[in-house]
């Protein structure tokens, strides 16, 4: 079976995986450690003791993400790498990376929902939280779109090159014609 052709949709998908996921996840964490860009405004409120306690919980929760996001960024970059090479492993890494992204997005959404961070009162006055909502929604939607797309991708049913080469060698050795 010939490898699937890289279509415009595949190019867009590879761009989303490499820039939209891997690149932006890296950028988010660089900004997290070097600036206040990703922080909600309430973390700077040092007058309310309840808010200070919640800020400790919030920052502790956020700080647990880099190792898991590392996994998402690397698998997404690998999915883009293999997708451009029209290799069947794109589907493996794509499903793993997108699944992990969706999982992390749902954990974040669950935390924010149960702590009332999506309430209009918070969102109206806190630009950091508005950005958080946009990140949560785009991660969840992007992850499930990517899973849906990989599941229907022709590469999912394609043999990878190693198997094709092995089959081809075996056919040559036995004198049978190559192909299935």
């Amino acid at each position: 079976m010939a490898p699937a052709k890289l279509t415009l949709a595949d190019k867009i998908h590879a761009g989303v995986l490499s820039i939209g996921v891997a690149g932006l996840v890296c950028a988010y964490w660089v900004a997290f450690f070097h600036s206040d860009l990703t922080m909600p405004n309430f973390v700077h409120n040092l007058t309310n003791p309840d808010l200070i306690q919640f800020t400790t919980v919030y920052l502790g929760f956020q700080s647990a993400f880099p190792l898991a996001d590392l996994f998402v960024a690397v698998t997404s970059a690998l999915a883009a790498f293999y997708l451009i090479g029209r290799d069947a492993k794109a589907v493996l890494f794509g499903l793993v990376g997108s699944g992990a992204l969706g999982f992390l997005a749902l954990i974040d959404i669950s935390f924010n929902l149960t702590h009332g961070l999506y309430s209009p009162v918070f969102l109206f006055k806190d630009g950091g939280l508005r950005m958080e909502v946009i990140i949560n929604i785009s991660c969840a939607v992007g992850a499930f779109w990517s899973i849906w797309r990989f599941w229907g991708h022709p590469l999912r049913r394609a043999d990878d090159r190693a198997r094709r080469e092995t089959l081809s060698d075996a056919n040559l050795a036995t004198g049978e014609p190559a192909g299935r």
Binding site: S18, A22, G23, V25, C26, W29, V30, F33, H34, S63, P66, L67, D69, L70, A73, V74, A77, L78, A80, F81, Y82, I84, G85, D87, K89, R161, A162
Partner: protein, 146 residues
């Protein structure tokens, strides 16, 4: 060796990060040459890889700029993440367009296909900024760079 190296000491010497990454690059390329892991089309690509990719991008750019002034254990996953993503990009560009280096036919740690070797080495690039910052901090703490 005191444990504060890994959590609190600030690395404020970009030149040291650059030189450490160059040293890591020279060691990696030396090992590749000895064991025949990959070969370069010309020496220019080899020198560019050590100087630009190892020294400037992974050492100075990722290592020092991102991890030079942060607590090591907190920033280490981010260093690996950015280093690996940049590495996969570099290996992808080399695999599909530049062809500056090529893979021999024999397997690399059991990996047979060139595309898989490129992906594996791309992820391994993530260790470069991590080791760069760790070694730089060790050098500073030992007083060699004073």
């Amino acid at each position: 060796m005191s444990s504060h190296i890994w959590c609190g000491l600030l690395t404020n010497l970009p030149l040291l990060c650059f030189l450490t990454a160059l040293a890591i690059g020279a060691c990696a390329e030396g090992a590749a040459m000895i064991f025949g892991l990959w070969t370069y089309r010309s020496r220019t690509f080899l020198l560019l890889n050590i100087l630009v990719t190892f020294g400037i991008v992974e050492g100075l750019g990722v290592g020092w700029v991102i991890g030079g002034r942060q607590m090591f254990l907190s920033i280490a996953p981010v260093l690996f993440m950015v280093g690996a993503v940049v590495g996969i990009l570099v290996e992808g560009l080399n695999e599909y367009w530049w062809r500056g280096s090529i893979w021999p036919d024999r397997p690399l740690l059991g990996i047979e296909r060139s595309i898989d070797k490129a992906a594996f080495v791309g992820v391994a690039w993530g260790f470069v900024p991590v080791f760069t910052v760790a070694i730089s901090r060790l050098v500073i703490s030992s007083g060699w760079a004073a």
